[in-house]
């Protein structure tokens, strides 16, 4: 068995952190036994979520937390939390729809990340920042 990596925290402050964050997530996923395709899904979802922090949060500041999780029914998995204390999203449910964008993007970021992961919860509101919590299970 691979040893489970302890919780990892990656600060998000500049564009280069997009690359560092997805590298950290990919390595954690690999250590947890995820296959190539899942590693790609997880790294890409992280790329979308962390870029949102850089683009839309105040000063682009935030943090990614990666940890191993275990569920009696679903087994081993990975939890990735991406959070910022930016302005928040006024209409979180809209933001999960394809094509929703306030910027210059394609509007694929959040809905795309949700499709790539098994679970994604968006917690946000005006003035209280944004926290995205995602899970992927080793099947």
């Amino acid at each position: 068995m691979n040893p489970l990596p302890s919780e990892q925290r990656v600060p998000i402050a500049a564009e280069v952190d997009i690359i560092l964050a997805r590298k950290a997530a990919r390595e954690a996923a690999k250590a947890l036994g995820f296959g190539m395709v899942d590693q790609s899904r997880i790294a890409t979802a992280v790329s979308e979520l962390v870029r949102n922090v850089i683009r839309y949060a105040n000063d682009g500041q935030g943090e990614m937390i990666v940890r191993a999780i275990r569920d009696p029914k679903r087994g081993n998995g990975i939890e990735i939390i991406v959070k910022d204390d930016g302005p928040g999203i006024a209409n979180p449910s809209e933001a999960l729809r394809d094509g929703f964008t306030t910027g210059r993007g394609l509007g694929l970021g959040l809905p795309g990340a949700r499709r790539l992961m098994d679970e994604l919860v968006l917690d946000s509101g005006l003035g209280r920042g944004t926290t995205v919590t995602t899970h992927k299970w080793c099947h």
């Binding site: 564009e15 690359i19 190539m36 790609s40 394609l106 694929l108 809905p111 795309g112 499709r115």
Partner: protein
Amino acid sequence: MMSSVSIVPIEGTLVVTVRGDLADQDATDLPNVLGDALEVFRARGILLDLSVVETVDSFLGRVIDDIARLTRLLGARTVVVGLQPAVAITITELGLQLQGVATALNVEIGMSMLRDVIGRQYQ
């Protein structure tokens, strides 16, 4: 600058290899850099080799789409080669369309596709 991309002109085609994770700024600059390179080398095709790229997110996907459209406007063509299967699966699940982007399994097939397209323009 842009140490993670190499551009090699071969037989009227630019063989462009992305050698790892592209910083956002480098990715943003890439369409312009390739547009200039087409002119400088009088090339008619771009073979975009992504075989060592591990992550194509919606941002890089849009850059690839921009490159394909820009090269068509300049009378040239782009063929993307070497996408890893895991990356290709992720692109479709993410919802990226990449409708105008021609792809080929490897460099040889991509080069022959470009020769066909470019050759036809002169007939």
